[in-house]
Symmetry: C2
Subunit: 198 residues, 2 copies
């Protein structure tokens, strides 16, 4: 027990186990929590327990939900002929917030990565194939990198023989930046995926 | 309940109430917690409750401690003739980690800031004055800004009549940076506080 602040060090340790939080920020957050009244920590703690006790994976799309089947899968308003395939549950909210897509989602929970020993069987790929009845387009919305490209190709090889269209997100120069600040690979992709000006 | 993820939104809200954590990071951290096994959240929650239930303010220096009087104040090895005055409990560990100072600390829990209605009575100033018996130097280690300068002057006016030396941290160009990247006020302070080369 260093300087009698063992509990502080334990809190710093657990906060710095979170992604993007270093030791120095963790210490700052710990002192912030100590400066609040005790109700703050009680609420924090019970919110955390409620979170992990009530949130589970949707039986259909494998997004996080508090229900057996999530609201998106249950909704009558969604276009059930389109499924957007994403890597992580967080991607669902990012894509859904654009209001550009009214179909369903499917969360793979990772991408194929042989170097890290993540194979197709470790992902929710079989579950995707099993729900393709009545679907006419699968939109692959994975992050643009090599592992995702492998995963997208793997999925396309499985799905195309079922006479379902497989598309993926356009990759190119993001809005608001310039060609000058884009790397070579991004410019190449933007050229490769060039579209007709109408 | 938006998409049946009420608990997720509540977790995002409480995480983003922490300093330096925005909504997007909070969401990322929430999904990270959901991906860990339930033991992680249980440990997080109990660490948080242990923290606020066991950590209180030292009766002497007002630093955070789990004891009645903190280890630094209790230590036989510390030089009891010097007190280093800091704004926040976190400053104690930053200064103590340098191993340059072997005296005692005193935490003010703020600085005088008339614009935010923080006056001398709101700080642990009276408690500092009451523990000056046998002290021959008070080192004011506040962050270099206007409010701290006012506070330092206020403390000096109270303490100097007691025949105790009052010093403050040198302010100037930080190690590892250059004059080129320092602002005018910092360069002025460095000139003002110039020291003899021996």
């Amino acid at each position: 027990m260093k300087n009698g602040v063992d509990n502080i060090e334990r809190m710093v340790d657990i906060l710095s186990s979170l992604p993007t939080i270093g030791k120095k920020t963790a210490r700052r957050l710990t002192y912030f929590i100590l400066k609040q009244d005790i109700e703050y920590a009680n609420k924090f703690s019970s919110t955390l327990l409620d979170l992990v006790q009530n949130v589970n994976l949707c039986k259909v799309c494998y997004n996080f939900t508090e229900l057996e089947v999530c609201k998106i899968c249950q909704s009558e308003k969604r276009d059930k002929s389109k499924i957007c395939v994403v890597e992580d549950p967080s991607d669902v909210s990012y894509i859904d917030n654009t209001n550009e897509f009214s179909g369903l989602f499917h969360v793979l929970h990772g991408v194929i990565n042989p170097l890290n020993n993540i194979n197709a069987e470790d992902l929710k790929i079989r579950e995707l194939i099993n729900r393709l009845q009545g679907v006419d387009e699968v939109i692959i919305a994975l992050n643009p990198n090599v592992e995702s490209d492998i995963t997208a190709q793997y999925l396309a090889n499985l799905i195309k023989p079922l006479n379902i269209k497989v598309t993926k997100l356009a990759s190119g120069i993001p809005l608001g930046t310039s060609i000058e600040y884009s790397d070579n690979a991004t410019i190449s992709r933007a050229l490769e995926g060039r579209v007709l000006v109408r």
